[in-house]
C-alpha cells in the first residue's frame, strides 16, 4: 500500500515536472538554446496567477487562459530580443545570456513583490479523492489531467498540422526545412512562444499547490534539465516520460533511502544516462543526435 501510494504521488509529481520540462524541451530541440531562465518563466506565470487571483478574484484555473497567452507573448519577446541576436555566438555567450536573464527576472520579482511567499486560497486546494485507500490530491490530479491533455494536443499538433510538422522538420533538418519553404526564424519564434506558454500553463496548475516567491524558478530548473536529458534532448514526448520517471524516482528514493538523498540519487541517474545513452532513455537513438546538441 505504502509503495503504491508512493508510486502514485511520484507519478502525480512527475506530471508537474513533465509540464515544466516539455516547454524547456521544445525550446531546446528547435531553437537549440539551453534556457537557464526557464524556471523564472514559471515564477512569472505563478505571480501572474496570483495577481489575477488577488486583484481580480479569478481562480487560477480560469486565469490560466490569459497567462498562457501572456507567457506566449513573453516568449516571443525573449526570442526576438535576446535569443535571435545570439544564435550564432559561442556556447558561452548563450549560456550566460540566459543565466543573466534569470538573474534579471528573479530580482525584478523581488523588487516588485518583495520576498514574500504568496499563495492563493481555493476551495479545492486541499481536497482529496480516496481511491482504495490511496489518497489523491485534487489539484495534483487536475494538473496531471492537464498534462495528459497537453501531451495529446501537442501530439496532434506536431503530427497532424502543417505547422507542427514544420516545427519537427526544423528540429531534424534545418536546411531542408528552408528548402520546402519553412520560415525557420518564425518557427523558432513559435517554438519559444509555445515553450514559455507551456511553462505558463504549468505555473497556473502549480498555483493551487505551491506558493510563489522570487527564487522559485531555481528549484525547478535543474530538475527540468534532468528530465529533459533523461527523456532525450529535443524529443518532445521524452520529457513526459522523463518527468514521470524523475517524479517516481524522487518519491521512491525519499521513502527507501532518505528525503535528504533524493537529489543525489536523481543527479546520479542523470549522470549515468548522460554516459550510457546521452541521447536519452526514450529517444529513438539517432534522433536527438540529429538535433545537434
Amino acid at each position: 500500500m505504502m509503495i503504491l501510494q508512493t508510486l502514485i504521488s511520484g507519478i502525480l509529481l512527475g506530471g508537474i515536472y513533465a509540464l515544466i520540462s516539455m516547454g524547456l524541451n521544445m525550446i531546446l530541440g528547435v531553437v537549440r538554446i539551453i534556457n537557464f531562465a526557464h524556471g523564472e518563466f514559471l515564477m512569472i506565470a505563478m505571480y501572474l496567477s496570483y495577481i489575477f487571483y488577488a486583484w481580480g478574484g479569478m481562480d487560477p484555473y480560469v486565469s490560466a487562459i490569459f497567462i498562457v497567452i501572456i507567457l506566449f507573448v513573453l516568449g516571443l519577446i525573449t526570442q526576438k530580443g535576446l535569443i535571435e541576436p545570439i544564435l550564432d555566438k559561442p556556447a558561452s555567450t548563450k549560456i550566460f545570456a540566459t543565466l543573466g536573464l534569470s538573474i534579471v527576472l528573479q530580482n525584478l520579482a523581488l523588487m516588485i513583490f518583495d520576498a514574500n511567499y504568496l499563495s492563493v486560497t481555493t476551495p479545492y486546494q486541499s481536497s482529496v479523492v480516496n481511491l482504495l485507500g490511496i489518497a489523491i490530491s485534487v489539484p495534483r490530479l487536475v494538473s496531471f489531467g492537464v498534462v495528459i491533455a497537453i501531451v495529446i494536443l501537442l501530439y496532434l499538433f506536431l503530427q497532424k498540422t502543417m505547422v507542427g510538422r514544420a516545427i519537427r522538420a526544423v528540429s531534424m533538418q534545418r536546411q531542408a526545412a528552408y528548402l520546402v519553404g519553412v520560415n525557420v526564424k518564425r518557427i523558432y519564434l513559435l517554438a519559444f512562444g509555445i515553450g514559455t506558454a507551456l511553462v505558463g500553463l504549468a505555473g497556473s496548475m502549480l498555483m493551487p499547490i505551491y506558493s510563489v516567491y522570487p527564487t522559485l524558478g531555481a528549484s525547478f530548473v535543474l530538475i527540468a534539465f534532468v528530465v529533459v536529458v533523461l527523456g532525450g534532448m529535443g524529443n518532445m514526448f521524452g520529457a513526459f516520460y522523463g518527468g514521470l520517471m524523475i517524479g517516481v524516482i524522487e518519491s521512491l528514493a525519499g521513502v527507501i533511502f532518505s528525503p535528504g538523498l533524493k537529489e543525489v540519487i536523481y543527479f546520479i541517474i542523470f549522470i549515468l544516462v548522460l554516459l550510457i545513452k546521452p541521447t536519452g532513455i526514450f529517444s529513438k537513438g539517432k534522433g536527438s543526435e540529429a538535433v545537434g546538441l
Binding site: 509529481l13 511567499y117 490530491s137 516567491y213 527564487t215 525547478f220
Partner: protein, 408 residues
C-alpha cells in the same frame, strides 16, 4: 606585451581607488553614533531578513525620537548580506571603510558566523539579535553578544512542552511517547533538530524517526509517507516557509493527519503560512520568539511596538522576528548609553552589567549575559498555536492568553 600594459593600468586604478578609500574612512567624530547592520535583504533569505531588520530600524527610530543617546542621534549604516560571503565583505566594509565598530545582525547563522569572524578580527563588536545556531556564541569570542535565545533553548521548550503538557494530554508515559522530527537541512533546522534529539534522549523520549530534507525541495511526499509509517504521537517540525506549507498541504493530500504538529519558528510562525494552508493551520503548535498575541502584562511595550510598526510600514508584522530584533536593539542601545561611549570594551562591560527581569521587556525576555560567551541566558522560546486563524501564545502560562488546544 600590450596585454601587460593594461594590467598596469588596472592596478593603478585599483590603487587610486584604494587611496580614495583611505580618505573617506578617516572622516569620523561626528555627532552621530553609527551602527552597522548586516541583514540579508535580497536573495532567498530576504523575507525574514527584512522582517528582522525592521525591528532594528524601529528601535533606532524610537530612541532618536526621544533625543538619541546622550543627545547623539543613532545612525544605521545598512548593508545587504545576501550570504556568508557577502556578509564577510560587508562587515569588512562597515568596519574599515565606514569606521564603525558596532554591528548588528543577522537572522541567519551563516551570516552571523561570517560577520562575527570579521568583527573579532578587526576589534569590532557584533550583536546578534536573531540567528539561533548555538555555535555562534560557543566560540567564546569577546567580540560577540547575542540577545536572542539560541536553538538549544527552542529544543528545551519543545521537550518541556512534551514533558509537562503533552504527556498528560494524551495520557502516556514519557517513555511511551513517540516523537518524530522533520527538519530542513540548513543550519537552522539541523541545530534545533540535533538539540531536540539530544534532550529527548536525556529525558527518555523515543524519537521514532528523523527526516531531513532540502529546504528548496519541491516535494515532501516521501517525508510524509515516512512519518505515516512511523506513526508518531507528535511531530517536531523545523521548517522554512516553503516546506512548512508543503508539509501541511501534502500530508493532507496524502491522507495523513499529523496528530500533534509542533513547528519551530521559521515558516510555521508566518502569516504567509496561515494564508497558504488556510484551515490546515488550525491546531498547529509552534515554538518561536515571542509573537504578538501574547499576555501583554508580561510583555510591556509590545503594544507600542505594534503601533509603531503599523505606522511605519502600513501593515502588520509578518512574524515575531521584528519584535525580538527590536527588543535586542533596545538592549544594545542601553548598553551604549550605560557605557557612555562606543568603545567596544566599554560597551561589552556595560552589557555584561545589564540585568533585566523576565516579563519587563516587549518580548518578555529578561537579560543576563554570560560573560564568557556573550549569550543572553534569560531569553526563552514560547509556544504558540494557530487557533481560528490567529497565532495565540499558549504556553508557558505566564505569557499565555489561551489554553493549548488538543484535537481528540
Amino acid at each position: 606585451m600590450k596585454k601587460k600594459w593594461m594590467l598596469v593600468v588596472v592596478i593603478c586604478v585599483a590603487m587610486v581607488l584604494a587611496a580614495c578609500g583611505d580618505e573617506t574612512s578617516a572622516g569620523e567624530g561626528s555627532e552621530e553614533i553609527k551602527i552597522g547592520t548586516v541583514f540579508p535583504l535580497t536573495g532567498s533569505l530576504a523575507l525574514l531578513g527584512g522582517e528582522s531588520f525592521r525591528g532594528v530600524e524601529l528601535a533606532v527610530k524610537e530612541v532618536n525620537a526621544n533625543g538619541g543617546i546622550d543627545g547623539k542621534q543613532v545612525k544605521l549604516v545598512n548593508s545587504d548580506a545576501v550570504d556568508a560571503d557577502a556578509a564577510q565583505s560587508e562587515a569588512t566594509r562597515l568596519i574599515n571603510k565606514e569606521g564603525i565598530n558596532l554591528l548588528v545582525g543577522s537572522f541567519s547563522s551563516g551570516i552571523s558566523y561570517a560577520a562575527s569572524e570579521v568583527a573579532e578580527r578587526n576589534g569590532a563588536q557584533y550583536w546578534e539579535l536573531g540567528a539561533v545556531a548555538d555555535n555562534v556564541t560557543d566560540r567564546n569570542y569577546q567580540s560577540i553578544i547575542r540577545v536572542n535565545p539560541p536553538a538549544s533553548y527552542f529544543s528545551v521548550t519543545h521537550i518541556n512542552f512534551i514533558k509537562n503538557v503533552v504527556a498528560e494530554q494524551i495520557g502516556k508515559e514519557l517513555k511511551d511517547i513517540k516523537v518524530a522530527i522533520t527538519h530542513e537541512d540548513s543550519a537552522y533546522g539541523t541545530t534545533i533538530a540535533k538539540e531536540a534529539e539530544k534532550l529527548a534522549k536525556e529525558e527518555g523520549i523515543d524519537i521514532v524517526t528523523t527526516q531531513s530534507y532540502s529546504s528548496t525541495s519541491n516535494d515532501l511526499s516521501s517525508v510524509i509517507l515516512n512519518l505515516k509509517k512511523a506513526q508518531p504521537d507528535l511531530v517536531i517540525a523545523v521548517s522554512y516557509i516553503n516546506d512548512a506549507i508543503l508539509l501541511s498541504k501534502q500530508s493532507e493530500e496524502l491522507g495523513y493527519k499529523i496528530p500533534i504538529l509542533v513547528g519551530s519558528g521559521g515558516g510555521h510562525t508566518l502569516t504567509d503560512y496561515q494564508k497558504s494552508v488556510g484551515d490546515l493551520a488550525n491546531g498547529v503548535f509552534n515554538i518561536d520568539f515571542p509573537q504578538y498575541e501574547i499576555n501583554t502584562d508580561f510583555t510591556p511595550g509590545l503594544e507600542e511596538f505594534m503601533k509603531l510598526y503599523e505606522e511605519q510600514y502600513g501593515e502588520k508584522p509578518q512574524s515575531g522576528h521584528s519584535l525580538s530584533n527590536y527588543m535586542g536593539m533596545k538592549v544594545m542601545i542601553q548598553a551604549i548609553d550605560d557605557a557612555g561611549s562606543v568603545d567596544v570594551e566599554k560597551v561589552r562591560e556595560a552589557a555584561m552589567n545589564i540585568k533585566i527581569e523576565k516579563g519587563t521587556t516587549a518580548t518578555g525576555w529578561g537579560v543576563e549575559f554570560d560573560s564568557e560567551s556573550g549569550q543572553n541566558t534569560a531569553g526563552e522560546a514560547y509556544l504558540t498555536q494557530w487557533i481560528d486563524g490567529e497565532l495565540l501564545t499558549v504556553w508557558p502560562e505566564e505569557v499565555s492568553i489561551h489554553e493549548p488546544v488538543f484535537k481528540k
